[in-house]
């Protein structure tokens, strides 16, 4: 049997084994989704982001570090956001295209700290234009009260 026939047969078996997608009648979820979408679309300058699994909101164009601190996520930044220590570095789980491109100083710092990867950013340098999900590399320094 040639590869194409085998592939077609395999696809047919998979399709027949998996139950077809039936309509989802979950009004609660549909309404929650609609309300949330309306809320987010109504405020284009406010960007929802996820920081270490916590959903927070920030001003579009602000840095990840600023957003974290304002929302009570105490992210380490030993050098005071001057790209020297790289202790504020985060791994971008999704939405890396929504962050401003990396500049020379940030690249240099990450290279110095052996952390160069397209998904690693310094929270003090990366500015947000859209939703992102990030995880801090270093442990947080306790909890800050929400301001």
């Amino acid at each position: 049997m040639d590869t194409e026939t085998k592939e077609t047969e395999f696809a047919a078996r998979m399709k027949s084994a998996i139950e077809p997608a039936r309509g989802l009648d979950d009004r609660e979820l549909r309404n929650a989704f609609t309300a949330r979408l309306k809320q987010v679309a109504a405020r284009p300058d406010v960007v929802p982001i996820e920081f270490d699994g916590r959903r927070i909101e920030m001003r579009r164009g602000g840095t990840l570090l600023g957003a974290a601190m304002k929302n009570g996520v105490r992210l380490m930044h030993v050098c005071g956001a001057r790209t020297l220590c790289a202790t504020c570095r985060v791994v971008v789980e999704s939405g890396e295209d929504n962050l401003t491109p990396m500049r020379g100083t940030e690249k240099f710092s990450l290279r110095w700290h052996l952390s160069v990867s397209p998904r690693t950013r310094l929270a003090c340098q990366a500015r947000v234009n859209g939703p992102v999900e990030v995880e801090s590399v270093f442990p947080l320094c306790g909890e800050l009260p929400n301001r």
């Binding site: 395999f10 696809a11 078996r13 998979m14 399709k15 027949s16 084994a17 998996i18 139950e19 997608a21 039936r22 309509g23 989802l24 979950d26 979820l29 549909r30 929650a32 989704f33 609609t34 949330r36 979408l37 309306k38 809320q39 987010v40 679309a41 109504a42 284009p44 960007v47 929802p48 996820e50 699994g53 959903r55 789980e93 999704s94 939405g95 295209d97 929504n98 234009n129 859209g130 939703p131 999900e133």
Partner: protein, 179 residues
Amino acid sequence: MKVLDPPPTSEADLIARLKAGDEEAAHEFFDRYAARIRRFIANSLGAASAEAEDVLQETFIALADALPFFRGDSSLFTFACAIAHRKVLSLIRTNARRANLMRTAPVAETAAPRETGANREFNRALGEIRPEYREVLILKYVEEIRVSEIARILRLGEHAVESRLARARKALRKSLKEE
């Protein structure tokens, strides 16, 4: 006179209305894709149904957050699957961490076989293979998504997707004891 249904909205139009936060568009998006997204999540998790519902909820809230910022560089379903994929991964990681802490076997790794007669054996085999293999097979053969789009969802190169698919098919055949 027979009343005709309105023609389905084009995807570009739907995206534009979603970005504006249009209620009708949100309902249309939900009706068009929710069932497929749920099927993708349930199959990726190996039919751990209680957790699939939680992941579905999280996926839709994340989608509502992300859709107004969607740039349209992939199809809407690919975009939704990418978010669902990350939520599934995050749940698997959390379960693995929890299992590690509790020093027990990972939770919800294998599927409960579905009672679908002749397909039961196939479903059992599908539930036994690794979640990343199951996921790529579902995307390719059930959702019929192109390899380039799967690469976007899984954040892999196209070659990596092709080789994962080959390994997944092999694993499934092995599990079916066809090899």
